[in-house]
């Protein structure tokens, strides 16, 4: 059953049918994918303007724009899947991981590195870029190992040791490859690569994926989104700290205490993202 339609809003969905002709309301059976035994009430079916074989189904029940539905046409025996597009799902997961569930400000992970390298904007950008790339690779590698080795053999109690091994190997490999291929790049980013091992976000991503038994695209979105979210947090924080260095901060607050207060303010601001739906 390939995707052949999409939810437009809370009461309308659009489906491209295989054959011509307008099916009657009684001829269609609409359900969610999870509950195929419970039909949703359809109010009317109309042809979509300026599209061949495409109908707009109006429902009495409220639809979830992010949900997936299936439509059965009883006269033809044809099934239609109605779901958000893959790109839409990945983008919404990506934004959720980067903003709504930002790893630094709402899950409080990676704080050591976050406070350590956010003093200067240059270092923040360097760390952000390096971390996003390495974190993405390690997230995918760990997902493959989890899905095709640990899970089938029910060795999930080894996950901590395996994931940290993956991260350590990848960091070592990146360092060596960069050193051999591009000396200037290594000079600029080498130090950040070594620091990645102490960032718990890189370990939290595979652990969360394993805990939620995520699929490939979900894992990909979390791996990339976590890196982007970390880079964004680091950049924002470095901008704020550069300014705080010039400000007349009370003596006892100088250095880390004021950085924590700033991080708290950012966390409050990020609270505004929760509930954001794409």
């Amino acid at each position: 059953m390939s995707r052949s339609g999409a939810v437009i809003d809370a009461h309308h969905l659009e489906v491209t049918l295989v054959g011509p002709g307008l099916p009657s309301v009684a001829d269609l059976r609409l359900t969610t994918t999870g509950d195929p035994d419970i039909p949703l009430e359809i109010a009317e079916v109309l042809f979509a303007p300026e599209k061949t074989n495409t109908v707009i189904v109006t429902t009495a029940t409220t639809l979830d724009t992010k949900g997936s539905y299936q439509l059965f046409h009883q006269a033809t025996g044809q099934w239609y899947a109605i779901a958000p597009s893959l790109i839409g799902i990945v983008i919404s997961l990506l934004l959720a991981a980067a903003l709504v569930q930002n790893f630094v400000f709402t899950r409080y992970l990676g704080l050591c590195v976050f406070f350590g390298v956010s003093r200067k904007r240059d270092t923040a950008i360097g760390m952000g870029v390096t971390f996003t790339i390495v974190g993405f690779c390690s997230g995918l590698l760990a997902w493959v190992l989890d899905r095709y080795v640990l899970r089938p053999l029910s060795l999930h109690f080894l996950e901590i040791i395996v994931f940290i091994g993956v991260v350590a190997c990848l960091v070592q490999m990146t360092d060596t490859i960069m050193k051999k291929l591009h000396r200037t790049l290594h000079k600029k980013f080498g130090i950040y690569v070594v620091l990645i091992t102490t960032n718990c976000i890189i370990l939290a991503v595979p652990l969360l994926n394993a805990m939620n038994a995520s699929g490939f695209w979900e894992s990909l979105a979390l791996a990339l989104g976590s890196g982007l979210g970390f880079a964004l947090a680091l950049f924002l924080m470095s901008c704020a700290r550069e300014r705080a260095d010039l400000a007349p901060v009370p003596l006892i607050f100088r250095g880390l205490p004021i950085a924590f207060i700033l991080a708290g303010l950012f966390a409050l601001a990020f609270l505004g993202f929760s509930g954001l739906q794409v």
Binding site: R29, T31, G34, D35, P36, D37, I38, D64, K66, F72, W79, V100, Q101, F157, L158, I161, K179, L271, S274, G275
Partner: protein
């Protein structure tokens, strides 16, 4: 960056060997620890679930709880399956029975994971999608249902249990897992919000609305009193106040209207779905005739006396040692089937 001194072969072997030995020791220590702790973790999990169901239905230790798991079989002719105490029953999407497969003797005391695997192997393309519990008093009378559901809240999914009377009025709602913000969305787990559902009938849920108005103090007193006391006692004490319940909306948590609305929608949907499915499961039991929900004759009724070797006799409940009279016209109690998962402790 100075190049490290060349490593001799001898040294390389030593390094490899020491790493390999460390890994082998690490693996065995973890394996040992896993085999020692896993049974405890699993039984804790089951006990916690059984405790929650028992508390929601005000059941004592002599009662039995049956978990009914629901499966979906994908393909050109999709099926919905229910794992009942006597075996696996398949229905078509309209709720008409297709076939039933008895549970093999070897799986009489199997875990949920093993049963899921058995079903997935027997009927390819099948996976578990949901479940509900039915609780029975020691005399076999149906105490009520607990259904599990989830709904997208403010930040992610809220997973919750809804406890219902045999007539499908809400006894209570309990949030199992959520990621709402503490102090805002997370307040929905507090008595003043979650007990606003208690006492409502299935029919009245369709008209149930959520309001942003503050919770009136008179209503609050009734709602909060539900915490920690049995449902029957609460109804007896506040019966007069509950009379006008149909006109009472759900008062949203201040600053968390979306979470409140999500949980309310989820509860409404969960009850409607359970109602739909109980009709399917009951329909087969009595040859297609509808049975009122108050009837003690559920198809998936398991009597404590029929639990067999899984029943642990407790010194506190000596009456459980002697077999109890099975209620009349119960087809399923004759079989040797244990409860699907959660047995009484």
């Amino acid at each position: 960056m100075t190049t490290p001194p060349a490593v001799t072969w001898r040294e390389m072997w030593r390094i490899t060997l020491s790493l390999a030995v460390t890994c082998v020791i690490a693996g065995s220590v973890l394996g040992l620890c896993f085999t020692l702790t896993e049974p405890t973790i699993q039984s804790h999990h089951l006990e916690e679930e059984a405790r929650m169901v028992r508390q929601l239905l005000d059941l004592d230790a002599t009662a039995s709880i049956v978990q009914v798991r629901r499966y979906v079989e994908e393909g050109t002719s999709p099926r919905v399956g229910y794992l009942l105490p006597d075996g696996y029953h398949r229905y078509d999407l309209e709720g008409r029975p297709v076939d039933a497969t008895a549970r093999p003797e070897t799986l009489a005391t199997a875990s949920v994971a093993d049963l899921d695997q058995w079903i997935a192997l027997t009927f390819p393309g099948t996976h578990a999608v949901g479940r509900f519990f039915a609780g029975y008093h020691a005399d076999g009378a149906l105490a009520g249902y607990v259904t599990e559901a989830s709904q997208y809240g403010f930040k992610s999914h809220i997973r919750f249990f809804v406890a219902l009377t045999p007539a499908l009025a809400i006894r209570g709602v309990e949030v199992i897992a959520h990621e709402e913000d503490p102090g805002l969305g997370a307040e929905m787990t507090k008595p003043f919000f979650k007990h606003q559902f208690a006492g409502r009938s299935r029919e009245s849920l369709a008209r149930l609305a959520v309001t942003k108005d503050p919770l009136p103090s008179a209503r609050r007193a009734v709602v909060v009193a539900r915490e920690g006391i049995p449902y029957a006692a609460w109804q007896a004490a506040y019966g007069a106040a509950l009379g006008a319940l149909d006109r009472q909306p759900i008062y949203a948590v201040t600053g968390a209207t979306i979470s409140s609305r999500a949980l309310t929608d989820g509860v409404k949907q969960a009850v409607a779905h359970l109602h739909h499915r109980l009709q399917v499961v009951h329909m087969t039991a009595i040859g297609g005739a509808h049975v009122p929900f108050g009837s003690a004759c559920g198809y998936f009724l398991v009597h404590p006396a029929s639990l067999g070797p899984r029943t642990r006799s407790s010194p506190l409940t000596p009456q459980r040692a002697k077999p109890l009279e099975p209620p009349p016209q119960r087809r399923c109690a004759a079989g040797p089937w244990g409860p699907t998962e959660v047995s009484d402790e």
